[in-house]
């Protein structure tokens, strides 16, 4: 299978463990990930007011490129990119004014084909026809969780995972939600399928402090701490998530959380793709586990080789 995949900038640099584990897992699902030619940053944040139309240009250009390459779907793992692409796509579908204005901007593009070096200056209007999917949706709807379960090579039942959705996968409900924003189950269903023990916790859709960790670093400690602490209190031994920004706040910044909350002694955070790749039998080296501030490696029983494990399905 071949599907378009939009990694986003962070995955190519700061979140290589998300990128690598995604690629590793998808290869094991026989899925070729194709990056749209010449993709740029999606803009990270969707413009919320009507006058900031320029914020729509990058995501729509990316989506148009997918269409030019005859893709009908684009998959993302970064929750921020997902929300921007999905909302921009919806605007092209639902908002005639934005549709016209954005396409007018994009009509001036010049595209040079990397192989033929031919110049392209004529473009069809982009009408929102590409389907934007988060990888969790792709796994549920395209791969199928039943099928996924049948491909699991390792026993992950000792990993008690608190699935953390954060904001971008669930809100605004009418535009991006991959599931019910108050009682979502898609993440849990996925974790169940790969054999993890799922831990329900009330902070799964509460904000981690987001990018305030850059502008007002001291403010993001509390919300991140509450998420981690809640996961721990409810019996989890790891938090799984899909957003490099949440990951930054909750793992990379754990030393600063510790400074503020003295009783806190660290809690591992993983990308869901790391668990997925591991379940599908990937080598532990491919998961980028050494990049984590709070070392998650004790959770990964290195001795457990994929081939040796008999999984009861």
């Amino acid at each position: 299978m071949r599907v378009h995949y939009y990694p986003g900038c962070t995955l190519k640099e700061k979140a290589t463990n998300l990128e690598d584990s995604t690629r590793e897992a998808m290869a094991r699902l026989d899925t070729d990930l194709v990056e749209p030619e010449g993709w740029t940053c999606c803009g990270a944040e969707y413009p919320l007011i009507t006058e900031k139309i320029h914020g729509l240009i990058p995501p729509v250009r990316i989506l148009r490129q997918v269409e030019i390459e005859e893709g009908s779907k684009v998959v993302t793992t970064c929750a921020f990119c997902f929300a921007v692409l999905k909302r921009a796509n919806k605007a092209m579908l639902d908002n005639p004014t934005l549709h016209t204005r954005v396409n007018e901007y994009l009509a001036d593009d010049i595209l040079i084909d990397p192989t033929t070096k031919e110049k392209r200056t004529h473009f069809e209007s982009y009408n929102g026809d590409v389907q934007v999917l988060h990888l969790l949706e792709y796994l549920r709807d395209e791969v199928g969780l039943g099928h996924l379960k049948s491909l699991v090579k390792r026993d992950l039942s000792h990993i008690k995972v608190a699935p953390y959705y954060g904001c971008r996968l669930l809100r605004p409900q009418k535009e991006v939600a991959i599931d019910d924003p108050e009682t979502p189950t898609i993440f849990e269903d996925f974790l169940n399928a790969i054999g993890c023990t799922v831990v329900d916790f009330p902070f799964k859709q509460e904000c981690c402090g987001s990018y305030l960790s850059a502008s007002m670093p001291e403010t993001s400690n509390e919300p991140s701490y509450r998420v981690l602490n809640s996961a721990k209190m409810n019996g989890a031994n790891v938090v799984a998530l899909s957003c490099p920004l949440c990951y930054y706040n909750m793992d990379t910044r754990q030393d600063r959380i510790k400074e503020e909350y003295l009783e806190f002694n660290g809690f591992p955070v993983l990308y869901f793709t790391q668990l997925l790749a591991w379940a599908l039998g990937a080598d532990v080296e491919t998961l980028g586990l050494d990049k984590h501030l709070c070392d998650p490696r004790p959770l990964f029983d290195i001795k457990q080789n994929a081939e040796d494990v008999e999984v009861n399905l």
Binding site: E45, L48, I49, C78, L170, C207, T219, L245
Partner: protein
């Protein structure tokens, strides 16, 4: 404290601009406060989200200008998701930030990033913050 309430041309202009930019109508808010109860940053704010909307309803632009709330909103949409009227308060904050001239001290520029953070911050954070809170 006593305030002389005035909804004159200037106030109306401000209210209308916020409505225009958000494509909504702030008077739809009936002040249940659920946005504030939902907001993960409320503890840091000088004006709660519902008070921001209230101040817009009352045309009190001056009171909002210096508020920290505007740069504490990270658009997590918890407020909007639970608002009984579906008002996008993150968009209201964005509209007000857009209208502010000059911007307050809490606004942000590339030089403001702490050097030790610059190395570790994910790209998306820098882009997002600059987009949201640029001076």
């Amino acid at each position: 404290m006593r305030v002389k309430l005035k909804i004159g041309e200037n106030e109306k202009k401000f209210i209308n601009r916020v409505n225009e930019l958000t494509g909504d109508n702030v008077y739809r808010c009936y002040q249940c406060g659920r946005c504030s109860a939902s907001c993960p940053m409320a503890q840091e704010m000088d004006l709660l989200p519902n008070q921001i909307i209230r101040k817009v309803q009352m045309g009190q632009e001056e009171d909002i200008i210096g508020s920290k709330t505007l740069t504490l909103c990270a658009s997590c949409f918890a407020c909007q998701g639970r608002c009984p009227k579906g008002i996008d308060i993150a968009a209201v904050c964005e509209a007000i930030r857009h209208l502010l001239e000059p911007k307050g001290k809490d606004f942000w520029g590339p030089d403001d990033v702490q050097p030790e953070l610059a190395k570790e911050l994910p790209q998306q954070v820098l882009v997002a913050v600059y987009k949201k809170f640029a001076k």
